[in-house]
Amino acid sequence: MSDIYAVARPAAIRWHPAVVRAAPVTAVVTALMVIWYVAAVLMNWNIVRSQFERDDAPYTTGQLIAGTLDAERPLLPAPHQIVATFAEDVFGWPVTSPRSLVYHSWVTLSATFVGFLLGASFGIFLAVLIVHARTLQKSLLPWIICSQMVPILAVAPIVIVVLGSIGLRGLLPKAIISAYLCFFPVTIGVVKGLNSPDPIQLDLMRTWSATPAQIFWKLRWPSAVPFLFTSLKVSITISLIGAIVAELPTGAQAGIGARLLAGSYYGQTVQIWAALVAASIVAVGLIGVVDLIQRWVGQMMGARA
């Protein structure tokens, strides 16, 4: 009997899984691109027209539109301009050249890395202190929260000057500013994680008369690991932002922040956008690395696939 129904129902079109997965993203990207190009034409319209008028050259609407998408210093560069500049800055120079985006990204990345390691370790250290001493929780937590309310852009130059006066320059001051920004999510996440074991699991430890160290290493710390990784993913992007921000007020010669600064000094909007693309690629890469480590650790700890 069932074949009657089979005939009655029209065969559904089966898309390849890859298509099904990629379709929503592709649709959104396409829509964004269309909006972007329209916006580029509209925003650069006046700049290009006044240029034509200043040159006293006759122009058609077609030439005007073409001009908006190919201006040297547009208000909003078109995507293909950014891609071209990005490609040239990345591949057009040896990676050690100060004109190479790879070089600048590496400068920022190394500060991010050191800052992240410092910040994450400090964050974990604070969390352990807070969980093990109630008085510390009361005395430390308000300061930790306050530390995040201070605008980093105001603090950064002070930190740079103070550290500079004791002879610390270059990477380390940037790393410290980056660490200052990124320890907070780690502390909050790990405190939550260390407190996450079930009361029954803690009772069990008590019935076995486990020492506080055993309770920490065999129960609290493993329980905190998923929380730790969630925090680390937030924290590593913040630490990248911290490193870039630290390059802004210090007149750094190299780094993504220095590129942004130079671009805005000389009105090189395309260069700013190219640096932004580099920053996002670095950020995605960093989250990807943390994600990979998380998967690997998860596998070690028997997480469901």
Binding site: L204, M205, T207, V225, G302, R304
Partner: protein, 276 residues
């Protein structure tokens, strides 16, 4: 009918001569809460001879779990004295005299079954070789051989609870405290585990203290049933249940079984009417 078991060293304890696993005298416990004091236990007197299987039964909130936690030194009584294996509960806990099985298996999700069972042994500092031996032995005892490398989520609820029982037995405590260990399981699994537990108790000769609110479970398993009533938790009846130890599930259809169950039910009912 009892199968000869070379591992068993305790038979029926001779009446009157057995040492006491638990001796409670005038034990009371009052919790201080923000809504005022709550008396969880009032003047509890109880002797549990070694080798017995004693069930605490009563409605929710009657203090049966609290009494168990007092025995385990997870709560301190506000009055009265209690001895566990002849020493205070704290000393008994520090000497690891008892294994505790909670309502939830509470296995550590990042440890395999064998490493979960080995956890108390690690904490107590046993040598790795001895740990392996114990884990193998007790997993076999709860019929979980072959699941050593599985993670808890790969096992059913009943299997997880069996693993937690193996964990409680692994360090060979004299006393097994079980707080509604099968409460979260369906009845079919529960019946099966009751039979297994009885066999296990028979083989190991441990003293078992068992909290439940199921009358058939209590009568089926116990040598002694302690009926409790709520607010404040008191013992209203202690019913001897001296049937042979090799009971099968069919035992639950016999008149003797029903008679005891009837008495337990009557006790529970009188406890209730007292309160309402």
């Amino acid at each position: 009918m009892r199968a000869p078991d070379p591992g068993s060293f305790v038979g029926q304890p001779a009446a009157g001569s057995a040492a006491l696993a638990v001796k409670a005298q005038g034990v009371s416990l009052t919790f201080e809460t923000s809504d005022g004091d709550v008396q969880a236990l009032a003047d509890v007197n109880l002797d549990i001879p070694e080798g017995d299987f004693v069930s605490f039964i009563g409605p929710s909130g009657c203090g049966k779990t609290t009494l168990m936690r007092v025995i385990a030194d997870l709560e301190r009584p506000t009055a009265g004295t209690i001895l566990v294996n002849g020493v205070t509960p704290e000393q008994a806990r520090l000497k690891r005299h008892y294994g505790y099985v909670f309502q939830a298996p509470a296995l550590y999700p990042w440890r395999t079954i064998e490493r979960n069972v080995a956890l108390p042994l690690e904490i107590m500092g046993l040598a790795p070789a001895l740990r392996r031996e114990r884990v193998e032995h007790y997993l076999q005892l709860v019929n979980l051989s072959g699941f050593e490398r599985k993670y808890p989520w790969q096992l059913s609820g009943g299997m997880q609870q069996r693993a937690s029982i193996a964990r409680a037995l692994s360090f060979e405590p004299k006393l097994l405290l079980m707080d509604e260990p099968f409460g979260a399981l369906d009845e079919i699994v529960r019946d099966h585990l009751n039979e297994q537990l009885l066999r296990l108790w028979n083989q190991t000769g441990k003293t078992v203290v068992f909290v439940t609110h199921s009358i058939p479970e209590a009568v089926f398993l116990s040598t002694k049933i302690v009926v409790m009533s709520p607010r404040p938790g008191r013992i209203i009846d202690v019913i001897a249940c001296d049937f042979p130890r090799d009971r099968t599930l069919e035992f639950r259809e016999t008149p003797e079984f029903l008679k005891i169950a009837q008495r337990v039910r009557a006790g529970l009912r009188s406890g209730h009417s007292y309160d309402e």
